[in-house]
Symmetry: C3
Subunit: 142 residues, 3 copies
């Protein structure tokens, strides 16, 4: 067994007003290539409390369907306690992001993410403003 | 402190039409035993965009309750953009899986998963077809 | 590249009847400090099937908004199969926790969690009883 190495890196992506869903698979695979690690784990986590990460088949239909489902779990038009105090109009964004979750832990296999052919990693901006998002990426492997 | 080792392995499970929920705890503990690693982390991720992973108390009541809640967040009978283009009838499957999340990161303690007594790891097939699912497993530990 | 080290530790927190949401960021950062590891990954996982982990901006408004959304995905007043057999009144707790997810994988950067300024890690008790919760924490880094 070989000893594991650790690489810390980050991806920066500009997103539109939420829910906006962007495919970051190639960004992550680029970091895996840069790391020279062949097998192990890639953990990614979005910085900030109105973003989330998951995987989907990245095609326009699924993207629209997921946006609608996200809006259903915390609709922008509802009344939020967060807005009562802060008046920034993004109470729904906080709830959506917390329920989707900020982090993901994916396999690295033969120098690439071990995903399905029709499976892409997406970064979601739930905020009511366009945001430049930072995703912290940690690759641990051999 | 000892240097970490990395083991990459996989679990294959046959699942029925979704939502189908299968306990894979013993499969994962088998891989932990095979790895000879005593303490660290096990990260698991389902390959494909219509599967997900979480933990539950695996008893028939909770399994049925969770199936119902999953169907509620994206009901099969709704209209999905994905189906307009692809006509494969699994628009709801994609949304359900994306919201549940594809990955999980669990503790390895004394050569076993560090779970509660009534806590099992489950693999969920959300697809509208029976599927043989591959779960990539990465164990990093000492 | 330096070889990775592995630290296994745990956090214990007392929580009220669910949904109760507690900020555990300082507990986790304390363990990162204790580990002496500067950069890598912290994976946390709640022990038991009626708890979950995510990140939020920990302020009273968001906490209340998230509680309401959690209750909406599995309301305590609904009928649950789990309760038919077990009569412990926490069928909703199991569903809520399974959908939120038991684990999180966060970056460690310069000896601290790499989170946003307004982003805190929260432990959620979904159970219908006050619970002392154990969170297993694995830090892998250099």
């Amino acid at each position: 067994m070989l000893s594991a190495h650790v690489i810390c890196d980050a991806v920066h992506v500009s997103l539109e007003i939420g829910p906006d869903i962007v495919d970051i698979t190639s960004n992550l695979n680029h970091l895996v290539g840069k790391s020279k690690l062949e097998n192990g784990l890639l953990a990614a986590s979005v910085v900030g409390s109105t973003g989330s990460l998951t995987t989907i088949e990245y095609e326009p239909g699924v993207v629209e369907d997921l946006k609608r489902a996200i809006e259903n779990i915390a609709p922008p038009g509802d009344v939020y306690e967060h807005e009562m105090a802060w008046h920034d109009g993004n109470g729904h964004s906080h709830v959506q992001a917390a329920m989707m979750g900020p982090s993901i832990a994916l396999p690295v296999r033969k120098g690439r993410l071990g995903l399905g052919t029709w499976q892409q990693v997406v970064l979601i901006n739930h905020d009511n403003k366009a945001r430049k998002r930072r995703v912290e990426v940690t690759i641990i492997g051999v």
